[in-house]
C-alpha cells in the first residue's frame, strides 16, 4: 500500500489523451513491416517518438507531436526511452477503436510495473483498459546520422500512392534497386536489377502531378536493398494513400536515403483545441524512414565528397 501511495504522489512521466485512435493506428501501421516487431518509445515535452529498425540498415521514426493529443502532461526529467512490442501497441490501441469514433484513450507511462497503460476516459457505463509490458533497452539504437549533401539537399517529392506503386512494380527484378537523380534533363529513375531489369522514370517535365518537387544539382546514383525500400511504403494503409499527400525522398551523405510520409491524425469534422479547424494542419504525424545505401556497387558516384 505504501509503495503505491508513494507512486501516486509522483506524477507519472506522461499522461496524454488521444481522440483519434484511427489516425494513430494508421501512423504506427505504416512502420510495421513485419510481425513481431520491436519498437523503442522516446518521450519528451515535445511528444512521443516511436522508433523501429532492422539489421542496422533500415530505421523508421514516427513523430507524434504533443499537438496531436487533447491533453499532454509531461513530468519526466530527461527523455525516458523504453522498448515495447509494436504489434501489441498497435493491436492494443486498435481495440479501443471498437468502442466507436468518439472514444478518448488515456496513455500513461509508467504503470505500477513499468507498463504502458491505456484506458478509456469518461466512457459511459464501463471501461476498457490495457497494460503493455515494456522493457529496458539493452542496446543503444544505431544513430542514423543523416547529413544533407551541400547547401541544397538532393531531394524529390512524389505522391505517396505513386511511390508505393512504383516500388511494388519493382518487385519482380527484386534484389537491389538503384535510384538515380539527374539535373539535366531533370529526372528520377528507379532501376531494378535481379532476375531481370526494370526501369521506372519520373521525368520532371512530363507532368506536374508526377514529381511535386525536385532538387538536384548533380547526378547521384545509389543502390538499395529491395526489401528495405519496400518496407518504406508497403504498409501505408489505403486510407492514408487516399489523402493524396506527397512523400519526400532526400539523399544524404553516403547515399543515406530519407523518406518522409505524412499521416493525418485528425478526426474529420471535429474541432481541435490546438489546431485551427481548416484542415487541422497541426494534426499530422510525421513518419521518417532511413535506408542505408548498399556498398561496393560499381556505379557509385565518383564525386560524392
Amino acid at each position: 500500500m505504501s509503495s503505491s501511495a508513494a507512486a501516486a504522489d509522483d506524477p507519472p512521466d506522461l499522461i496524454c489523451h488521444l481522440d483519434s485512435i484511427h489516425g494513430m493506428v494508421d501512423a504506427l501501421t505504416s512502420v510495421r513491416w513485419k510481425r513481431h516487431q520491436d519498437a523503442v518509445l522516446e518521450l519528451s515535452e515535445h511528444g512521443i517518438v516511436v522508433i523501429v529498425e532492422e539489421s542496422g540498415c533500415l530505421q523508421a521514426k514516427v513523430y507524434l507531436k504533443r499537438e496531436l493529443f487533447l491533453v499532454y502532461e509531461y513530468a519526466a526529467e530527461g527523455r525516458p526511452r523504453f522498448g515495447m512490442s509494436l504489434d501489441l501497441f498497435v493491436d492494443g490501441l486498435n481495440i479501443f477503436s471498437a468502442l466507436g469514433p468518439a472514444t478518448v484513450v488515456e496513455i500513461r507511462y509508467p504503470g505500477p510495473d513499468m507498463e504502458l497503460i491505456l484506458k478509456t476516459v469518461d466512457f459511459p457505463n464501463g471501461s476498457l483498459y490495457a497494460a503493455i509490458r515494456t522493457r529496458i533497452l539493452d542496446t543503444i539504437s544505431w544513430d542514423y546520422n543523416f547529413e544533407p549533401t551541400g547547401n541544397v539537399p538532393i531531394s524529390f517529392t512524389v505522391k505517396s500512392a505513386l511511390l508505393k506503386e512504383a516500388i511494388e512494380d519493382l518487385e519482380w527484378p527484386g534484389s537491389s534497386i538503384q535510384i538515380v537523380l539527374q539535373p539535366d534533363p531533370p529526372c528520377v529513375t528507379f532501376k531494378g536489377d535481379g532476375h531481370g531489369e526494370l526501369q521506372i522514370d519520373f521525368p520532371y517535365y512530363a507532368s506536374t502531378d508526377l514529381l511535386i518537387a525536385f532538387q538536384c544539382s548533380r547526378q547521384v546514383a545509389y543502390w538499395y536493398k529491395y526489401k528495405f525500400l519496400r518496407a518504406t511504403t508497403s504498409n501505408i494503409p489505403a486510407g492514408v494513400l487516399k489523402d493524396n499527400r506527397g512523400s519526400k525522398l532526400t539523399i544524404g551523405r553516403g547515399g543515406m536515403l530519407k523518406i518522409q510520409h505524412l499521416v493525418s491524425v485528425g478526426r474529420p469534422g471535429v474541432p481541435h483545441p490546438y489546431g485551427d479547424n481548416v484542415g487541422q494542419p497541426s494534426r499530422i504525424a510525421y513518419i521518417e524512414f532511413y535506408v542505408k545505401a548498399e556498398e561496393e556497387q560499381e556505379d557509385a558516384p565518383i564525386n560524392d565528397s
Binding site: 493491436d91 457505463n125 464501463g126 476498457l128 509490458r133
Partner: protein, 317 residues
C-alpha cells in the same frame, strides 16, 4: 418413419434471413431434430469441446400441415449441413417469387432415394416447390436418421443443456461486443469472463506481455441480483470483480476466444435481446438470445435460441 410439412411464409423468412446464416457460421454440421411439437437445430451436443447451440421453434411458427411419425415416439433426428439447407431454401424461395403465385408452397419431406450413380438408396430432405405452371424438386443430402439410442442420447444432452444460470446480464450492443472481441483475438487466445450480480460483465485477456480488460457496467440483470457496495466504486475493475467473487456475488470462467467469436456470429439471427450468464458450478458460459413478437416488446416464446461455451478452466468456481 415419415415426415412432411409445408413451410409458412414466416418460417421461410425466419430461417432464410435470420437463423440459417447464424447456424451456418456455428458449424458445417448440425442436427435437425423434429418432435410432435418442435423443430430444433442443434450444434455440437455430443461434443464436449465446441460451442453448443440449441435453436428451437414451435412447429406452428415454421410449418403448416406438419405430419410426423416414427416408431420412436414420433421423434426424428438427422445430421444436415445448414449451408446446403439454406441454399435449397433460397432457391425454393426464388421459384416461389418467380411464379408470382401466392399458392405456390414449399413442402419439405424426408425421402429415401437412389442418388445418381449409386446403387444404395440414401436419405434426403426434399424441397418441393409447386407453382401454377412448374414444380421444382431439390434434394438436400442428410445423414441416416439417428437410431433410437442416439435420439435418446440427443434428448438427454438437450435436457442437460437447458439449465439456466442464476444471474444473467443483458449486453445492450452485440455489434460493439463483436468488434471488441474481433480485436481482442489479436491479443490472446483465452478470455476470462466474469459476471457479477450487480450487472457487471468483465472480459479480461492476459498474456506475459499484455493485459487487456473491458468492463460493461450497470447492465440489466435477470435472476439473482445484488447491489454493488458503494465503497468499492473507485477501485479497478479487476479488484472489484475479485472482491465480488470472494463474496459469492460473481462468477468467472475462462473460455476460448475462438468460441466466443463464433458464438457472436449468432448476431446474424438478429435477436432482440442477448443475455450472458455462467451456469451453476461454472459449467459453461451461456448466451441466451431472445426474440420479440413482431411489433411488440413481448418475448416470443415459440422461438428459443441459446449457446453454451465450454469452459477451459473452472476459474473461481
Amino acid at each position: 418413419m415419415k415426415f412432411k410439412a409445408f413451410f409458412t411464409s414466416d418460417g421461410v423468412n425466419l430461417l432464410d434471413k435470420r437463423f440459417l446464416p447464424a447456424l451456418d457460421k456455428l458449424g458445417r454440421l448440425c442436427h435437425m431434430y423434429l418432435t410432435r411439437d418442435h423443430a430444433m437445430f442443434l450444434h455440437n451436443l455430443f461434443a464436449a469441446d465446441g460451442v453448443q447451440s440449441v435453436a428451437q421453434f414451435k412447429k406452428e411458427i415454421l410449418f403448416r400441415d406438419y405430419r410426423i411419425s416414427s416408431q420412436n415416439d414420433d421423434r426424428i433426428a438427422f445430421a444436415i449441413d445448414p449451408a446446403l439447407l439454406h441454399r435449397a431454401l433460397r432457391s425454393a424461395l426464388t421459384i416461389q417469387l418467380q411464379s408470382g403465385d401466392d399458392t405456390a408452397a414449399i413442402q419439405i419431406k424426408l425421402v429415401k432415394k437412389l442418388p445418381a450413380g449409386s446403387r444404395n438408396p440414401a436419405p434426403f430432405l426434399t424441397f418441393e416447390t409447386k407453382g401454377m405452371r412448374s414444380a421444382v424438386v431439390q434434394d438436400v443430402p442428410i445423414s441416416k436418421p439417428l437410431s433410437r439410442a442416439d435420439v435418446l442420447q440427443l434428448q438427454t444432452a438437450l435436457d442437460a443443456a437447458q439449465d439456466l444460470p442464476q444471474t444473467l446480464v443483458q449486453v445492450p450492443d452485440l455489434a460493439q461486443l463483436q468488434s471488441l472481441v474481433d480485436r481482442l483475438k489479436n491479443v490472446g487466445d483465452v478470455l476470462t469472463v466474469a459476471i457479477t450480480q450487480y450487472g457487471d460483465l468483465h472480459l479480461h485477456v492476459s498474456t506475459s506481455l499484455i493485459t487487456v480488460g473491458s468492463e460493461f457496467r450497470e447492465l440489466r440483470v435477470l435472476g439473482v441480483h445484488a447491489n454493488a457496495p458503494a465503497s468499492e466504486q473507485n477501485l479497478s475493475a479487476l479488484s472489484r470483480t475479485a472482491m465480488a467473487i470472494q463474496r459469492d456475488e460473481a462468477q468467472s470462467v475462462q473460455v476460448s476466444m475462438k468460441h466466443l467469436a463464433k458464438s457472436l456470429q449468432c448476431h446474424s439471427a438478429k435477436p432482440d435481446c442477448v443475455f450472458y450468464g455462467i451456469a451453476p458450478q461454472g459449467a459453461c458460459l451461456t448466451v441466451i438470445f431472445q426474440f420479440f413478437i413482431p411489433g411488440t416488446r413481448l418475448m416470443d416464446k415459440s422461438i428459443s435460441f441459446h449457446c453454451r461455451l465450454p469452459v477451459l478452466d473452472s476459474g473461481s468456481s
